[in-house]
Symmetry: C2
Subunit: 231 residues, 2 copies
């Protein structure tokens, strides 16, 4: 019977790569690619094994089954990403008088930078996040709750702190809507280029992020003036 214990999130003072066989990492990388391309149901353990260059049985040895492999893959990257996000947010708030623009930047940039550069294969993890975040599937909901709700609450708190006129309720709506905007950036379907005859390039991260920050901050501040919190 396989171990399939979930890797603990690496702490700041821990070695970069956990002490597991390199095959194990190759499997996670392959899983990221294949799940990103085909979704959970559409991906097959066979293709993941072939992509990783290992026998199919080895995946079961390391991760037990498809569900647990999927969760291990989420756990690995979300740990990296959300540690960076939390650190950046804390630094902004500790410095006092943080601008909303900086908080929104801290909300999005780590996700695309890790999702884009760390996964050597490209932006696979971002795509998996997009599909999980929009899914009503019980597994996706549980993973979102486990790996993303805690950091979401931190950012909602930050919204309320920076814009005291925002009620808690509107801060949560603002957060949900903003994450929705971020999806556009992470999904990278190429549709923006199609609709704009090439003017908008969703592979240009910096350009897109600049536009997104403007749009998202404008949206949040509009909620503020439309219905200011009177407490």
């Amino acid at each position: 019977m396989a171990r399939a214990r979930l890797q603990a999130r690496p702490q700041a003072d821990t070695v970069r790569e956990p002490a597991v066989g390199s095959r194990s990492v190759a499997i996670l990388d392959a899983a990221e690619k294949v799940f990103a391309k085909s979704g959970f149901a559409g991906a097959s353990m066979r293709e993941i094994a072939e992509t990783a260059g290992v026998a199919q049985a080895l995946i079961h040895y390391h991760f037990d089954n498809k569900e647990k492999l999927f969760e291990a893959m989420i756990a690995r990257r979300s740990g990296e990403i959300n540690d960076v996000r939390a650190t950046q947010l804390d630094r902004l708030l500790a410095a006092g008088r943080a601008r909303l623009e900086d908080v929104v930047e801290a909300l999005f940039r780590p996700t695309i930078e890790v999702g884009h550069s760390l996964a050597r294969g490209g932006d696979g993890f971002s795509r998996i996040l997009v599909s999980a975040a929009n899914s009503v599937d019980e597994r996706d909901a549980r993973l979102t709750e486990t790996y993303y709700d805690p950091i979401a609450r931190k950012f909602i708190d930050a919204f309320c702190l920076i814009e005291p006129g925002l009620s808690r309720k509107e801060a949560v709506w603002a957060y949900m809507f903003s994450i929705g905007v971020g999806m556009t950036m992470m999904a990278r379907t190429g549709r923006s280029a199609r609709l704009s005859d090439g003017l908008c390039d969703d592979t240009d991260i910096d350009e897109m992020l600049r536009e997104i920050v403007i749009y998202v901050c404008g949206g949040i501040r509009a909620m503020l003036t439309a219905n200011p919190n009177r407490d």
Copy 2:
């Protein structure tokens, strides 16, 4: 060999329900439910047949294969929805001096009203749209291009017309971001309620739409002032 011809989009002066057997409609309704729950790959023809109360072979008789069934299901609802959206948009523009708020309302309301009420089973179609819109899968991209790009261009044109300071490029970004916000509403994952301890209810369409219109218009106008078009 089965027919599997795609149903033509009903014109305004055409009878409501096409002259196909009621079983055929039952199959499309069932497909909507099952595809919404499990996605394309996760759904099985067996479950769709059981949900529709017909033999599995009948689906192949009417729609040939799984791919074509999926497209027929998209074609049916997108026709209904986008006819309403185009009509409302044209009426707003013909009346002159349309408000951005009204255009954004015309962008979203028909989708949720049709997706929510017409599909007796609930909001299945909305969920399918969300997953298709965010997918890099070739099939999903082709369907989005075929059934949603034309109406998207109309709304982008409207953005440019109403806010002349908006460049074409920013209008496309604004459209993409706004659709992203709309996803929050259509996906209805229940996450907003979880993050707000029940304050935000994503089953309350009117409340959510009101907040979304405020946020989206604020976002679009922020792009305008941040980088006005000088033509």
